[in-house]
């Protein structure tokens, strides 16, 4: 197999697949946020991703970077709350990271994720173990760094495991932090939606036979 990498089309499919999962799980994500936040996370993500789908349907994109940029800007503008700037910044940093590339290979994808995580950390000032989406993005970046080729199943597993581990954490950033000990026992909503995003990437790579 030739290592073609992720093309614009794959990014489009990634966005679509993520959107599907977000819409399907809108109520679940909102319920997670009702338990330890203000109960809008599913609504926010669903609104933002729906808009991103609409926005990116308007143009033919020349490169992954251009598409990622519109995706990111739409999230920043339409998701709102804490997750808007965080997911938006993550995707925007990816867009900047892959600028000028027609295809994204494994190393480039890893770098893109590293920069996405850096953006998230810079924006939200959270560290690992504070029960935020950082607790999914940090492990997944380490996972990418520790490997040399994309293993869909392992990638998804790693993301899922990371998400599930937020359940036992006590929140120290974001709204759930107000709950202190009472935040323990619930999955962090932003980590759950991060999982859907990562799982979707994995599924696209798997299904389209992308060799990254």
């Amino acid at each position: 197999m030739i290592r073609v990498g992720l093309t614009t089309k794959h990014i489009q499919l990634w966005l679509q697949k993520t959107n599907e999962k977000i819409q399907e799980n809108k109520t679940y994500l909102t319920e997670l946020d009702q338990a330890i936040g203000d109960g809008d996370h599913g609504i926010n993500m669903a609104r933002g991703f729906e808009e991103a789908i609409k926005k990116t349907a308007e143009s033919d994109y020349e490169s992954p970077s251009d598409l990622l940029k519109d995706w990111a800007m739409t999230l920043i503008s339409k998701v709102g709350g804490a997750s808007g700037p965080l997911f938006g910044t993550a995707i925007l940093k990816m867009s900047m990271s892959v600028k000028g590339k027609a295809e994204i290979n494994y190393a480039e994808l890893t770098t893109a994720f590293e920069e996405a995580l850096a953006g998230i950390l810079q924006r939200g000032h959270a560290a690992e173990n504070q029960k935020t989406l950082v607790d999914v993005w940090s492990p997944i970046v380490r996972f990418l760094q520790e490997n040399t080729a994309f293993d869909s199943a392992a990638f998804t597993n790693q993301a899922k495991e990371a998400m599930e581990q937020t359940k036992d954490m006590q929140a120290e950033k974001g709204r759930a932090a107000y709950l202190k000990e009472r935040s323990i026992g619930h999955i962090d909503p932003g980590s759950a939606s991060s999982f859907y995003l990562l799982q979707s990437l994995s599924e696209v790579i798997e299904k389209e036979g992308v060799t990254v």
Partner: protein, 330 residues
């Protein structure tokens, strides 16, 4: 969910429309944005912008007008607006002397407003910010998210707005706003949950005999779930937690705000105030002015918050300065 609405996903747009229609002498909607801005601009004045998620009405657009805010940015219910909308608010408020953002301390608000500041600076608008964190229900900590901004924010709007109206430069307006923030502490409680229209069901359940002390204005949980107490006991508990913070002492003069969270009758807020004013007198704290009503709500939550603002001569003058907004008049 029983609400007098049309489409749960369209409540903020329709609210802005109805508000602009009702108060076209005071405020107007900036087309295609989430911004309500003053009709009468004071040229060369520092602009004051506030906002955040909707569902806290009359916050924030109810405080747009002479002597308080120049623009309010109305995000989705309980969700900070994105930076592009905050930027629209900054642009609407800017008349050349710079803009001060009054941000309530929530991760989402802080991030979105800070991103908007970066965007505004790219457009060469001078912007500064203050972050309100008056809620003593939450531990004060720089490591965690820290304290929330709740009803005390309204006092910050008033002080910043009045200072700006004097023609003071941005740094001085910011300094006065920060003094207000240093001097204001609040604490809330709730008797019932509230329902985000698009969520369709309450954020949590509370039993018929329970209340939550320290509840936030988005239904974020508080310090403890306890059995229903009397108004007098609630007053004691809220005030004692505020005073523990050490800002308000015997001999001080304060402004008091008894804020309803949405469905608590004014009668009950006044009953609470009767006890609050007794306690403060006992503690040797003089009440300069009292504000009772709905200022920072949580949709239709039942409950209240109490805020104390310690006053000095400057803050008194700024508090008493004229304000002509739809929800706050001096």
């Amino acid at each position: 969910m029983k609400k007098l609405i049309n489409d749960p996903n369209n409540v903020v747009e329709e609210m802005m429309k109805g508000m602009a229609a009702a108060h076209h002498d005071v405020l107007k909607h900036v087309p295609d944005t989430a911004v309500l801005t003053r009709v009468e601009r004071t040229a060369g004045k520092v602009g004051i912008v506030s906002g955040g998620g909707s569902g806290h009405e009359p916050s924030h657009a109810g405080f747009v007008g002479k002597g308080m805010l120049d623009a309010a940015v109305c995000g989705p219910v309980f969700t900070s607006p994105g930076p592009d909308q905050v930027l629209e608010g900054i642009k609407a408020a800017d008349s050349g002397a710079g803009v001060l953002l009054v941000i309530k301390n929530y991760s989402g608000d802080v991030m979105n407003f800070e991103m908007a500041m970066e965007l505004a600076e790219m457009e060469t608008i001078t912007v500064d910010k203050v972050i309100v964190n008056d809620d003593v229900a939450v531990e004060d900590s720089t490591y965690t998210t820290g304290r929330r901004g709740i009803a005390g924010t309204v006092f910050v709007h008033k002080i910043a707005g009045a200072k700006a109206e004097t023609g003071a430069p941005l740094a001085e307006v910011k300094a006065s706003a920060e003094k207000a923030i240093r001097n204001v502490r609040s604490m809330g409680m709730a008797l019932s949950a509230c329902t985000i229209p698009a969520a369709g069901k309450p954020g949590f359940e509370m039993a018929e005999n329970e209340m939550e002390i320290g509840m936030g204005i988005h239904g974020e949980p508080g310090i403890e779930r306890t059995l229903l107490k009397t108004a007098d006991e609630v007053a004691e508990e809220l005030i004692s937690k505020i005073l523990q913070d050490g800002v308000h002492k015997s001999g001080d003069e304060v402004a008091v705000m008894i804020n309803g969270l949405g469905s608590t009758p004014l009668m009950e807020l006044y009953i609470l105030n009767g006890k609050v004013s007794d306690i403060l007198e006992e503690k040797g704290i003089t009440v300069y002015k009292t504000f009772v009503g709905e200022y920072m709500t949580a949709i239709e939550m039942a409950g209240c918050s109490v805020s104390l603002l310690k006053l000095d001569d400057e803050l008194k003058e700024l508090l008493d300065a004229p304000a002509h907004t739809t929800a706050f008049r001096m």
